[in-house]
Amino acid sequence: MRTPHIVGVAETRYARWGKIGDVTEHALACQAIQNAVADAGLSMDDVDGLASFAEDRNEAIFLAAELGLPSLRFANMVWMPGGGGGCAAVGNAAMAVATGQAEVVVVYRSLCQGQFFRFGAGGLLAAPPAEARPPTVQHASSLLLASMGFALPYGLAMAAAAYALPTRRHMHLYGTTSEQLGRIAVTFREHASRNPRAVMGGRPLTLADHQASPMIADPHRLFDCCLESDGACAVVVTTAERARDLAKRPVEILASEQGAPKGYAFGPFTNANVADELYATGGTEELAKRLYGKAGLGPGDVDVAQIYDHFTGCVLMQLEDFGFCKRGEGGPFVESGALAWQGGSLPTNTHGGSLSEAYIHGLNHVVEGVRSLRGESTSPVEGAEVCLVTSGACVPSSALLLGRR
């Protein structure tokens, strides 16, 4: 059987944005890859594939050379914005393994953003500093920048502002409140309190703290926005046959899907004209149906979830997309305590998520998904057999169903 399994997961230290300055981002990627391969009980000489996702500065060809891989048979990067491709990168690794393209593929993400720019401030998108001359139309050097020509002149460069747009409309349509969004942040922070890797582990958060935090881009307060972090993590994928005699209990990739509804492109920066019925959603409902269909499972079968949490409102909209509650009922659903490790019907982001563990573009959610099925999570869910992992909302995205069978 070549059914793909995840056999190793690991990370480096996680730190606040800009706090890892003594090692380069690609060296940190090497550390995470080596740690994950060691976790699997494999040798670096076994690795013949590397996979990553959008905007990765650390090209697989260089990492393969730096790591001394004997033969790189599969090198792959997903075209999905930001974290949208995290699960898809694992899915591509799984396809490579399932089809015999490679035997052992490592998916990786490394971020030392302080050595480059401030992602959350729009650093990826902002034009070079304006020269001291009257502004005029300039030539776009890429399709991304040409598309952003219809966002940047209005000051839309910051993700916190872009994702506020669908969330604000969700609040308008369904009466979703800032307090309900705050419950998501408070719950994930509580989960982080048991996780020694979590950047915000030692910093309790109350709903009052959330409500008192500065407004960044209404309705996003500071604590509605994910962290920006330095760190790296990696996930090792191989065949069921190979997985059988390795160090850790293998986790099966039950299904992986990626997808973008019509017009989604770069998410709320560019998708003002998507269908009205999709605008105030995560845009992942159709993807969710395909994912569940492929695995022969439904939302009721999910024991624990790791939901991409760039912003609290995006978590809420994904919960609706993936069928855990009806459209528009995400607010009351999270308010009921559903996402809590203790007593929740759907323990979610048991590591603390991007809001409180670290922002590694969501690959750390895959790492936690594996740990939650191995019984290694610091917020363990007793008897968990199926874990949903998602990679973003309001953008082209992807998701995984992982299983312990």
Binding site: A130, H139, S147, L152, A160, A164, D218, N273
Partner: protein, 141 residues
């Protein structure tokens, strides 16, 4: 020159051959959308082919610049030096555009006055002799 709402240091539009006519019309204070001459479907931002029938034949239709706020955010962090805070980014549903929306700003309003569904009208901001940006203000009743 028009009234000013944002500083010169705001990011200028980056254009390619497909999108440049939009900005050339804007410089003449004409708000245009692209229209497929095969099926009549409009589109914005401009794109090489019709997103419905995939014809590459298109012309430009001027729209009157009336609409309503589809969604918005009040932003408290600057994108450019010297910017007044907070400022409002909005998605505007444009009348007589074939159902299109565009990202823009609501200017000249207190943030608490901005609401989804509020009627707005076009206001041009001349950033320079060559660059005008379409923004919107609330229609006061």
């Amino acid at each position: 020159m028009s009234e000013r709402f944002f500083p010169d240091s705001m990011p200028a539009p980056l254009a390619d051959h497909v999108t440049l006519p939009f900005w050339q019309a804007a410089a003449e204070h004409r708000l245009v959308v692209q229209r497929c001459t095969a099926c009549g479907r409009t589109r914005l931002p401009p794109a090489p082919v019709c997103t419905d029938c995939r014809s590459a034949e298109a012309d430009w239709k001027e729209v009157p610049g009336r609409g309503e706020v589809y969604t918005y955010t009040v932003v408290h962090r600057p994108i450019a030096a010297g910017q007044e805070l907070p400022f409002v980014i909005a998605v505007i549903a444009l009348e007589e555009s074939g159902g299109l929306r565009m990202i823009s700003n609501v200017v000249d309003a207190k943030p608490e006055e901005v609401a989804i569904g509020a009627p707005v009208e076009l206001v041009w901001e001349d950033m320079s002799a060559e660059l005008a940006i379409p923004r919107f203000r609330l229609v006061r009743r």
